[in-house]
């Protein structure tokens, strides 16, 4: 990874004698959607607070866009974040007035930006209502709208899906995906593994404040397994194809990852050209939930069924 938009180095946080985050190091690149998952008390919220400078590390450091956040507070202009669930606003002000207040605190935003983020998060019709009467989902969407106000290069979100109905969730996912596609590094903490599996690039599994695993979901998403007449020859044939990111073998099957799922139709042609007969093809589904349970249970030394 060339330049990291978010980076932690041996980050630790203790409350008194109790360690909450331990020796945590990870990097998130521009354009990535990175998820922190873990059971309650795993330290996800503390990590978010350390990343946003709301809490101070006991040891280690946080770099955002290559700069130490605590030494460069002005960098917050380039960062958007939601750290409360539900997102915190002045309940006696309207959604629009709250965003206007955020814009002032941020040193101003371009004309029409408030209207733009309200439209993006589908909040135009409720913009003049006081936030005190907003539903949880609306508050969360307003939180994401506020985070997007300054067109940040880094987005940090604590439980963005908390309290959201499926429609709100869909809206937020779309907005975050769009932000990432434009180069914004997105880091979110969540309990919703389906949400993670759907659109995150990588996921970090935390347990007792430690990073116990980091999974690249891109490598697992467009992944297929094929039964072929000659596994070795099929692997060699697929490896050389530009639309294949990775090809390996597993027993009597060849397992491959596509650069783009649209290229699936070209696999059969490549195999036939290499003189290999394709006997069967199926998506090699990655079960993040099962994987998560397995990793957390292994760390705890209990059976996977005991992990919620």
């Amino acid at each position: 990874m060339a330049s990291a938009a978010i980076e932690t180095r041996q980050l630790s946080k203790h409350y008194g004698q109790r360690p909450v985050v331990r020796d945590l190091s990870f990097r998130v690149a521009p354009g990535e959607v990175y998820a922190l998952v873990g059971p309650n008390g795993a330290g996800k919220t503390t990590v978010i607070r350390l990343l946003t400078g709301l809490a101070f590390p006991t040891a280690g450091s946080v770099y955002l866009l290559g700069l130490d956040l605590l030494k460069n507070p002005a960098i917050r202009r380039r960062i958007g974040a939601v750290v409360e669930a539900p997102a915190a606003f002045y309940p006696y002000l309207s959604g629009r007035a709250n965003l206007a207040l955020h814009a002032r605190l941020a040193g101003g935003v371009s004309e029409g930006r408030i209207a733009e983020v309200l439209r993006l998060l589908e909040l135009e019709t409720s913009a003049e209502r006081k936030v005190g009467v907003y539903s949880l989902g609306m508050r969360q969407r307003l939180g994401v709208a506020a985070a997007l106000l300054t067109q940040p290069e880094v987005l940090i979100l604590d439980e963005p899906a908390s309290g959201m109905d499926p429609l709100s969730l869909h809206v937020v996912h779309r907005v975050l995906r769009e932000a990432a596609s434009m180069g914004t590094a997105v880091l979110l903490s969540t309990h919703h593994l389906d949400e993670v599996a759907a659109y995150c690039s990588r996921v970090a599994i935390l347990e007792e404040g430690q990073l116990i695993d980091e999974v690249n979901l891109l490598d697992r998403r467009d992944r297929y397994r094929a039964q072929v007449s000659d596994v070795r020859r099929a692997q060699l044939a697929l490896k050389t194809q530009p639309f294949i990111r990775h090809a390996g073998t597993r027993g009597d099957e060849v397992v491959f990852i596509l650069e783009d799922s649209a290229a699936l139709g070209r696999v059969a042609g490549a195999l036939v050209a290499a003189g290999v007969e394709l006997l069967g093809l199926a998506r090699d589904n990655f079960d993040l939930r099962a994987y998560y349970r397995e990793r957390v249970s292994a760390k705890r030394g209990v059976a996977p069924e005991e992990v919620a």
Partner: protein
């Protein structure tokens, strides 16, 4: 910082404790101006409009005004905690020092605003007694309410302004102390209660005569003290205020949210 300050003053105006305080402080002068039993119970007659604000101050300065000031200042920060908006604001390019400094400025100005309001309401409430010269005193100058002879409207108004200004100054450290305690506990009720606790404890400390002139609670009556002591009083209030404000900034800078 200018944006932050205007936002903070906006928040102050929305505090429920401020609205309640304004109602109470409008009520007190009206009670003195229109209560029928003042002469029977207190043994004097209100004879001038200029005495009404002084009577209102004399009866609220002991407990009510410190209480109202402490509650509002504690609420300034405590409500942010309740709403969760401390984090929201600190995620913007606003330093912690700027955030707490804006609140300290509002907490410093607040007693002056509150007393300006009570003075204005007091003067308006006193209209039945007239605004001319009168034989007696305002209650805030030499001679107290009986006074030292004829007093002109200008002199009476000056006495009131002086008394109200000194009273506001002596409320400033209380306001800042409430904010400091709220920084410590991040809870408005805790901050206000701790402030009152400190004031009541200080009032008991008068049993140590050597300490009295250093006690914050003793300065609450500074507005009726002889002018000779004023320099000392104002210096002491400034030292208390600076110490409370500096401690609040230092603690807030190191707090985890």
């Amino acid at each position: 910082m200018r944006a932050l300050l205007s936002i903070e003053f906006g928040k102050l105006l929305r505090l429920s404790s401020l609205r309640f305080s304004l109602v109470l402080l409008a009520l007190f002068p009206a009670i003195w101006a229109f209560a029928p039993g003042v002469a029977e119970i207190y043994g004097f007659f209100v004879i001038s409009a200029y005495q009404v604000p002084a009577l209102a101050l004399l009866t609220t300065m002991e407990f009510l005004l410190p209480l109202l000031v402490a509650i509002a200042s504690a609420e300034l920060l405590g409500l942010e905690r309740t709403f969760g908006t401390i984090s929201t604001v600190l995620l913007r390019p606003v330093t912690r020092s700027q955030f707490i400094a804006a609140k300290l400025i509002v907490a410093t100005v607040y007693p002056f605003l509150l007393l300006a309001f009570m003075l204005a309401v007091g003067l308006i409430s006193g209209f039945p007694f007239g605004y001319g010269s009168f034989l007696g005193g305002t209650g805030l100058g030499a001679g107290g309410l009986p006074g030292e002879g004829l007093i002109t409207p200008g002199a009476a108004l000056l006495e009131l302004l002086r008394g109200y200004l000194i009273a506001a100054c002596s409320l400033v450290p209380i306001s800042l102390l409430a904010l400091l305690f709220t920084v410590v506990w991040m809870n408005a009720a805790g901050g206000a209660l701790a402030t009152l606790g400190v004031l009541i404890t200080m009032q008991l400390m008068v049993v140590f005569p050597g300490l009295e002139r250093f006690l914050l609670s003793a300065q609450l009556s500074a507005y009726v003290q002889p002018v000779a002591d004023l320099g000392w009083v104002l210096a002491l209030l400034a030292v208390y205020s600076a110490a409370f404000a500096a401690t609040a900034v230092v603690l807030f800078e190191r707090k985890d949210f």
